[in-house]
Symmetry: C2
């Protein structure tokens, strides 16, 4: 026998999470998650899942029947959208202005479809005109995919304009709302989004690990008309939907992450209680307060003002400042986490999150004072 | 705006879970899960993941470096093994003696590989001789896949013999240990298992949603020599391993399900504290007590005695007894969940689980008394 390792219980400290996610989790959500596990086919659990569906619909502002939470993180939500809707050989125009647009390209290529990449500079919004040129140059494209709120840069793209344009060229749209859901305006039905996915750990302030997704009737139509099976059994939406269906004929697919779904239910319930528009405004208000303080510290934003995400503030690291040391001191001396730069911004920028429960005055104040202390 | 649904907090009852999983969760595990969320790149979290890796290795009795927890349920663990190791066009011998063997076949076929199915009756163990005939008939097969403990039937297969045979024919082995891990003897290194996956929600008595997996050096070799990219970005083990690597150069892949991993850490820690052999024995002891009581009630086991799983007891529903009504009464009157039959056994059998924390005397007694009351 290999011997048992001797390991003590893990006691994480209480941090203030102001990175790009996970964000500070609502105490009510942590408590919800610790409630007794019940069976995933228990009638009471099925009822909870039905409520959860209606809460996800509200957060997305959609009436889409095919709305549920993928039992895995946001990147599995992304993959769910691509592998269900796109078939090998089909063409997808992928707008890329950061890490997550590039992840979309990798998804498309790995599944044997064709990615046409429309590039924008890091920190910019996706350029609507550049997309239009690509759509004209590729009349056989069937999909347009883009990131609504780029977590790697903090830039917000005009999802409504991009979707309107895609529709005009008969393309379905696949939209990454991982960082936008709950933090800025997002209207899936009004804007004509066909497939959307998000993450539980950003502006919903739920624990990480789940991905709410929603497919429009047109997306469902495309799914139903596939000529090839979906390559992934685990992510096959037709099977998963049979499990989430509220029509009394629930069919077993996998075992739902019961306690994590309790947590998502509670976080979305809190969002519904506050109201979406109030939550969007709160993020904006706290962003203004943080912005003013950061500028007083002499820090410069990476993203142009008009497309800046309130929930993710990317600022340039001042000349001569040691990136890792600052973040380490914030963590060790203040229990405060801010995010490092990712990809092209590694070592060059910090990402300061104001997400969900964390978009509040005390977090802004702590961050500003701690940064002021550490930078001086 | 679509209006916010008015939904109350969800308060699940305290059930006793004696189905095929999720099983009763250790109170310490629920408490661990509710600890404060910290960043997934926080040095303290990275340290916790390193401990978790060593705990998974112990539970599997392996020294495999490529050992980690997939951030999704057991069926994603299954898919991880197939999509990383098998390439399109390669041949996999799939032993099928229940629902989960068939799920393996579906995985193989969806990814464009060739499944050769070796069938056994439901309730039987996988037949070693039948596998040998298949191996002789298909000398070009590169993999043998089977389920160690079939959750749909309660039958245990001889993993050691099957793996020895597969090795002799130069095949790598992919083994489903979803229901076996922690409940019956399982020795990944000694038995020559090349890829193995499990679920958090069975004999580990953790919350559902995670899948510990381990790849042998030979499996890693196969992975490295692939000619085609892994079809799934989310499940690509080379990328995921970069995230789990303890060598200080941790690279971002996805956001780990932080709190769920706290839970897995605690459940595996409790297993290590008890000791694997003691846990196996406890499952066996409680099985004997349950078995005696069920037989006194006149219930008959589906699976032959010599291959019966202690942690999952499948009994035939007596003639004239209303399946759904019995399970409903147990749930409503006793807060006790037992499992329905699945697939070929739907409506014909019950599956009574004694898994992990649930493999204890009070559960056996409750189940026997409640069944006696309801059946009379």
């Amino acid at each position: 026998m290999l011997l048992a390792p001797s390991i003590q219980p893990f006691f994480p400290p209480q941090r203030t999470l102001m990175g790009p996610g996970p964000s500070d989790v609502y105490p009510q959500v942590l408590a919800a998650q610790a409630k007794p596990t019940i069976g995933h086919l228990d009638p009471l659990f099925v009822g909870m899942m039905d409520e959860l569906k209606s809460l996800i619909k509200y957060a997305y502002q959609t009436t889409n029947a095919m709305t549920l939470a993928v039992s895995a993180p946001g990147s599995a939500g992304m993959e769910t959208c691509f592998v269900n809707l796109v078939e090998p050989g089909e063409k997808v125009i992928v707008c890329r202005n950061g890490v997550f647009g590039d992840r979309m390209r990798q998804n498309v290529e790995r599944m044997g479809a064709i990615a046409v990449v429309v590039d924008n500079e890091w920190g910019e919004a996706v350029d609507v005109d550049a997309l239009e040129s690509a759509l004209k140059a590729h009349p056989d494209a069937k999909f347009v995919a883009f990131v609504h709120a780029e977590t790697s840069t903090g830039a917000l793209s005009d999802a409504k304009a991009l979707c309107t344009l895609a529709k005009r060229h008969d393309c379905l749209t696949i939209v990454d709302a991982v960082t936008s859901l709950g933090g800025v305006e997002l209207r899936v039905d009004d804007w004509g989004i066909d497939a959307v996915y998000a993450g539980s750990q950003k502006c919903l302030s739920c624990v990480p690990g789940l991905s709410p997704v929603s497919f429009s009737p047109a997306a469902v139509e495309k799914l139903k008309s596939r000529k090839t099976p979906v390559q992934s059994w685990f992510l096959d939406q037709s099977l998963v939907m049979g499990y989430w269906s509220g029509e009394g004929k629930r069919s077993y697919h996998h075992t739902a992450p019961v306690n994590a779904l309790y947590a998502l239910h509670e976080s979305l319930r809190l969002l519904a209680e506050e109201g979406l528009e109030a939550a969007w405004q709160r993020h904006q208000d706290q962003h203004w307060a943080l912005r003013q303080g950061l500028e007083e510290l002499g820090l410069k934003f990476v993203v142009p003002e008009e497309v800046r995400l309130p929930q993710l503030n990317t600022v340039l690291i001042p000349e001569g400042v040691d990136d890792a040391q600052v973040r380490q001191r914030l963590l060790q001396e203040y229990n405060l986490e801010i995010g490092a730069g990712l990809g092209a911004f590694a070592g060059k920028a910090w990402r300061i999150g104001l997400m969900g429960y964390g978009a509040k005055r005390e977090n802004v104040s702590l961050c500003l004072k701690a940064l002021a202390d550490v930078l001086n």
